[in-house]
């Protein structure tokens, strides 16, 4: 059985969908955050698969940019989560409901 590029693309699409659905259904801020990372990594896999398929280095370079951006997002995201948790220990996404109208 030959593993073609489309296998990787389908796998990436599945991981992306798991991340997206996870973000929508889970209530723990940290888990939601992990789901975002899952989505970003699925995109990285897509980039690498296409780069291999197109025989082009550009897609692989893109992954480095994605990694750096994801790291920056982790720093800021965790800081905001920690700030929220300090005020309200054990808060879930449902508890963040001061703003409504």
């Amino acid at each position: 059985m030959i593993v073609t590029t489309s296998w990787y693309l389908i796998l990436a699409a599945l991981i992306f969908a798991i991340g997206a659905v996870g973000l929508l259904v889970r209530r723990n801020p940290l888990v939601m955050f992990m789901c975002v990372e899952l989505m970003l990594n699925a995109v990285s896999l897509t980039f690498v698969a296409f780069a291999r398929d197109l025989d082009d280095i550009g897609g692989q370079v893109s992954v480095f940019f994605v990694l750096v951006v994801a790291a920056a997002e982790v720093v800021v995201g965790l800081a905001i989560i920690v700030a929220v948790m300090r005020r309200r220990p054990g808060a879930t996404a449902d508890d963040l409901s001061v703003l409504r109208g």
Binding site: V36, M39, V43, L54, S62, E73, V76, L96
Partner: protein, 500 residues
């Protein structure tokens, strides 16, 4: 499979094209350094004042670029191996983002002092975010666009949560962060699929490829369009990706909201126009119906939901959604005229919304919590001039003639009519009528309702905020009567995809 090692060729970089970016980014680093070392010897408002000066420096640094790109002999050019494009469009929007940043930095001076938040992080993040917006306006490559988007967004996530003692501000930051990261992932997936379909992330290469090759199976490309549209739709708060907007506008500090509604929206629409109208023009028949549907939903939902709100910040959030709908009408036209209309709209709306949130920042009082419509009751008797200026801004947002808001709506609707999108033009006009009700409600509260005796005494108007307010109202009225200079600027702001 170790091939012979090729030397890495680094591109020539035309540094002149990067001057505004260097001023904004370098200025942020400068403030961070100086104020961490010597901050305690400097007055607390000084960092924001310097940030405003640096942002104005960014505008001044763009003027020579503007003269160059509008000169017929020289014209637009690409920078850093065509990753960034300097054309009339990107230079004008760079200036707009810089001016908006300067105004928001001035607004922040009094706000941060009142809320005892005066730390240098605020102006630093503001300038960094502005530099991200400038990268987005200039980006000629999807990956560069993504990096710009993240520089812009990550700074604003922190700014939204900046009022660390207010639960609402933290919640706004958290919501904006989660949904922003979610939309960025969609945007990135769109880039990956477009890359897979066209073999490049560079917009010039993509456009040439799509012009030269007829794709047998364009499913990958169309999926890429859809994901890119979702990502950018979140940033410009188009329906159905608008859910974060009211909550974040309500919870975030007022000067930050002014920045989100002006500079962030400018950068988002810059990306929409450059990617869809300019690069994917061959496939306009495929993406136009989707933008059409989104524009209709954004126009109507924004206007209708705005009328049932009781909080002025939420009202202005929904009104900003409906304004985004108007700009989407210009995007949907996919013509030079549509682009011109959107650029004009962005200029007019940025000043309007900064002025409006300056008023909200004053009325909300210490703690930034008095933002319901009843808090505006009797404003005409407490502060008649403030009520008058706010009325002008609200009338302009409603699109009353003799204000820039009127010409903004007029130009987008004309662009839609010229492309024979009659129905869309009619929906836009209906939405304007519904939204007018919302602005009237705030005005009625200000001029006709009884004075709230408890807070009738103290409503200090800081000089800096007053200056911003007068400037924005003056801009709205002067160019509302005499719009030609701004229309000419918008017409000269032609986007181009040019190498070298």
């Amino acid at each position: 499979m170790l091939a012979q090692v090729e030397p890495i060729v680094t591109p020539e970089i035309a540094w002149t094209g990067l001057v505004p970016l260097i001023i904004l980014g370098g200025g942020a680093v400068l403030i961070l350094t100086v104020w961490s070392l010597a901050g305690r010897y400097l007055p607390s408002w000084s960092s924001s004042a310097v940030a405003a000066a640096i942002a104005l420096g960014g505008t001044a640094g763009s003027i020579h670029l503007w003269l160059r790109v509008t000169d017929d002999d020289r014209g637009p050019f690409g920078v850093a191996a065509n990753a960034l494009g300097v054309d009339g469009f990107s230079v004008l929007l760079t200036m707009l983002i810089s001016v908006a940043t300067a105004l928001c930095a001035v607004l922040a001076m009094a706000y941060l002092e009142r809320e005892k938040l005066d730390r240098p992080e605020y102006p630093v993040l503001l300038l960094l975010s502005a530099s991200g917006g400038v990268v987005m306006a200039m980006a000629n490559d999807l990956i560069v666009l993504f990096v710009g988007l993240e520089i812009l967004s990550i700074s604003v996530y922190v700014l939204a949560a900046f009022h660390a003692r207010r639960e609402q501000s933290q919640e706004a930051g958290m919501k904006y962060f989660v949904l922003g990261a979610f939309s960025s992932a969609f945007f990135l997936y769109g880039i990956a699929l477009t890359y897979g379909a066209t073999g490049s992330t560079n917009l010039i290469d993509i456009r040439e490829y799509l012009a030269a090759v007829v794709l047998v199976d364009d499913a990958l490309l169309l999926a890429g369009f859809a994901f890119l549209l979702v990502g950018l739709g979140f940033k410009v708060s188009a329906v159905p990706f608008h859910a974060w907007t009211p909550d974040v506008y309500q919870g975030a500090p007022s000067p930050v909201v002014a920045f989100m509604a002006s500079a962030v929206k400018v950068a988002g629409f810059a990306a929409l126009l450059r990617v869809f109208v300019l690069t994917f023009d061959q496939y306009a028949d495929d993406w136009q119906p989707i933008v059409y549907a989104i524009a209709v939903a954004t126009l109507l939902l924004g206007a209708i939901l705005a009328t049932v709100q009781t909080d002025v910040k939420r009202m202005l959030a929904y009104s900003s959604i409906s304004h985004a709908g108007f700009m989407l009408v210009g995007v949907e036209a996919a013509s030079a005229q549509g682009t011109e209309a959107v650029v004009f709209y962005l200029i007019a709306y940025s000043f309007l919304v900064i002025g409006s949130f300056a008023v909200v920042g004053i009325v909300s009082g210490e703690g930034d919590s008095h933002t319901s419509v009843s808090d505006f009751a009797g404003l005409s008797r407490r502060r008649p001039w403030l009520a008058f200026l706010f009325t002008v801004l609200l009338l302009a947002q409603a699109g009353v003639p003799l204000t820039t808001g009127f010409f903004a709506k007029f130009l987008t609707i004309t662009a839609a009519v010229d492309e024979r999108s009659w129905a869309l033009a009619i929906v836009a006009m209906i939405s304007a009528v519904i939204a007018a009700f919302l602005y009237l409600r705030i005005m009625v509260s200000m001029w006709l309702a009884d004075v709230d005796t408890e807070r009738s005494a103290a409503l200090p108007i800081p000089v800096t905020t007053g200056v911003v307010l007068v400037l924005t109202v003056a801009f709205t009225m002067v160019f509302g009567i005499w719009p030609e200079p701004i229309v000419d600027l918008a017409r000269d702001a032609v986007p181009a995809l040019i190498r070298g």
